[in-house]
């Protein structure tokens, strides 16, 4: 029973990190550390890290600034895009505020058009992300990574060496290994933690500026969970894999609804989860740009067509995490995930894994309906 008190303490330290980050950001700024704002998991963070920049996540997770954004953007647009633009416009987010350069990628249509408008109020560099994973796409993506390096060099007046990039690759790989080891704890039956804790750590680690410290903390956390978690209390829970759009802004109402209804989120395939962490960058490749291009282009996001890597990863996760059911969370007006949902449902059900898809946004108006859906789905399992 003591454990129940203990675990959330260290988890909540990660959660609080996000609030504390404002002051941390300020302190880093006083030391002259540049900030590069990032939206997407496709950004090769190794490039800005190689120049000693802090990379901060800008995907906004609350609807607070959506009304402000809707003065410019259409209402029927993804809440993440609207909220992000709104935070940039209102200076209410310390990460937007402190970002010296924001990097976007041509992922979904909503984002790439929003970046055009964002560029009018903040310095923005948009990387041209190909829509497919062909050899020609790889060449384009590699040249875009080189162009990013040049942009950072000219924007900040620095030189980014290949050695520095190589070091950043090693650092990021070590970080990935720690994150992977963390979420792999959930492979155990019963799994050792609830989905909100899993989500909070995966999200919190994206807001750690001291990467070495973050890696150490992750390993310490893994040890602690292994030693102290009372896994038995989760025995018999339905093991749920979460996939779909980025869920930072809707995690509370979706993951909690799943777990209140008797499920346990054991795997997260979406942004911040396995999709963006699983594959390492090849440290042996003498061409660092080629190594980065290959690794990042491989990410199985629905903005790719076709998108075989998402299904490959889902298949592996189904097996490794002994998944009982899939819950796909799609943000309102997130067309690529909404369309691909049909294929994910088919893919899961063909493998005997029940599937529930829900569409939601950053409001609280559908909490009751989501609870009913999740509860009905758990009753069905």
């Amino acid at each position: 029973m003591e454990l129940v008190k203990e675990l959330p303490e260290i988890f909540s330290e990660f959660g609080e990190q996000r609030r504390k980050s404002f002051m941390d950001a300020y302190a880093l700024k006083q030391q002259g550390i540049p900030f590069v704002g990032a939206f997407c998991t496709y950004l090769p963070q190794e490039i800005p890290l190689a120049m000693g920049a802090a990379v901060v996540g800008l995907c906004s997770k609350t609807g607070e600034t959506i009304p402000e954004a809707e003065m410019v953007l259409p209402r029927n647009l993804c809440p993440l895009i609207k909220a992000s633009y709104g935070f940039a416009k209102t200076d209410k987010c310390p990460y937007f505020y402190f970002s010296d350069l924001i990097i976007g990628e041509t992922t979904c249509d909503g984002k790439k058009k929003m970046y055009e408008l964002l560029g009018q109020i903040k310095p923005v560099h948009v990387m041209e992300l190909p829509n497919s994973q062909s050899p020609a796409a790889l060449l384009l993506w590699k040249s875009e990574i080189l162009r990013l390096k040049e942009k950072l060099e000219s924007h900040f007046g620095v030189t980014i060496t290949e050695d520095a990039i190589r070091e950043a690759i090693k650092l990021k790989n070590r970080e990935r290994q720690a994150i992977k080891a963390f979420y792999a704890l959930q492979k155990q039956v019963p799994a050792p933690m609830d989905g909100m804790s899993l989500h909070q750590v995966l999200e919190g680690v994206q807001f750690k500026f001291d990467r070495e410290k973050a890696i150490d903390e992750l390993w310490a956390l893994i040890d602690k969970i292994q030693r102290e978690s009372d896994r038995e209390k989760y025995r018999g829970r339905k093991r749920i894999l979460v996939t779909g759009s980025p869920i930072g802004g809707v995690a509370a109402k979706t993951i909690q609804a799943i777990e209140e209804a008797g499920g346990q989120v054991v795997a997260m395939e979406n942004c911040g989860g396995a999709k963006s962490v699983d594959e390492l960058v090849d440290e042996e490749n003498p061409d660092v740009y080629d190594a980065l291009a290959r690794r990042y282009l491989n990410i199985g996001c629905s903005c790719m067509t076709p998108n075989p890597n998402r299904f490959k990863m889902l298949d592996e996760l189904f097996e490794e995490y002994r998944v009982d059911a899939v819950v796909e969370i799609v943000l309102q007006a997130c067309h690529t995930f909404a369309v691909e949902a049909y294929s994910v449902k088919k893919f899961a059900t063909e493998r005997g894994i029940p599937y529930l898809g829900v569409e939601t946004d950053y409001s609280t108006s559908d909490e009751g309906q989501l609870r009913t859906r999740m509860a009905a789905f758990m009753e069905m399992l």
């Binding site: 029940p354 559908d366 009751g368 309906q369 009913t372 859906r373 509860a375 009905a376 789905f377 009753e379 069905m380």
Partner: protein, 253 residues
């Protein structure tokens, strides 16, 4: 042993007493703006000391303190429909504020479901709006539309459909033609919604509109599958809740 199921929907609150083979009593009250009170009223009217288990369902399911269990309306409707119909493989429920399609396994358990709860289109609200504008009681719908030619109602949105009906009336369209148009509009939309689950076999129609032949027949035409219902179809959720409570309360072995 008997069990009690109470289904608190947005428009009506239903109760059913079940003895393991038959539905003994049912009661229906309007929910209005008082779901907790109305659930309590149904409970007070139906409860007897022989009730071994009370199960609450519907959107107000958490509001009855005496409930031994709460189960979602999806699971309860599936169970209730399976009891009221023969070889049911799909349930379509048009509720007051949402619409559900549920696929059943051959053993009657839930295989898949879909809910429309974002919008009043395709729900009982749409029909309430129509009867108000066209000024006839819903109980007369079957006789009212008989032998009429439906007007095309193209608006998906309840608010816009209301304007469309007002325009049709202003243009001199027949009230019953408009009413039949609205029936077709909601039934086709509901059928299209259910088709996303690729239903096969017999479809059971529940909810307050299931007692009207014009709705049943129109959904059947739109789906191309046999659609059946039952005089107690409006109580399917409450009956299912009572039956699930019965299975739970049964002494094992």
């Amino acid at each position: 042993m008997i069990t009690l199921g109470i289904d608190c929907g947005s428009t009506t609150t239903k109760g059913a007493l079940y003895d393991g083979s038959d539905v003994l009593r049912t009661l229906l009250l309007p929910t209005r703006a008082r779901p907790a009170e109305q659930m309590q009223a149904v409970y007070d009217a139906l409860y007897t000391p022989e009730v071994a288990c009370t199960v609450a369902t519907g959107y107000g399911r958490a509001l009855l303190p005496q409930a031994d269990r709460t189960i979602t309306e999806i699971t309860c409707h599936a169970r209730g429909a399976g009891m009221l119909g023969e070889a049911v493989r799909c349930v379509i429920d048009i509720g007051g504020q949402d619409c559900k399609a549920i696929l059943l396994h051959p053993d009657g358990s839930v295989a898949d479901f879909a809910m429309n709860d974002k919008c009043a289109a395709g729900t009982g609200r749409f029909i309430e709006m129509m009867t108000r504008i066209l000024d006839f009681p819903i109980e007369e719908i079957d006789r009212f539309v008989e032998g009429h030619q439906p007007c095309e109602i193209s608006s998906m949105c309840t608010v816009f459909a209301e304007s469309e009906i007002v325009s049709l009336l202003a243009a001199g369209a027949d009230r019953a033609d408009i009413a039949l148009g609205v029936v077709q509009s909601i039934c086709r939309r509901t059928a299209a919604f259910a088709m996303r689950l690729s239903p096969t076999g017999t479809v059971f129609f529940t909810g307050g509109l299931a007692r009207f032949e014009s709705f049943r027949r129109t959904i059947e035409e739109a789906l191309g599958l046999p659609v059946v219902t039952h005089p107690l179809a409006q109580f399917a959720g409450a009956i299912g809740a009572a039956a699930l409570g019965y299975a739970k309360a049964m002494p094992r072995g």
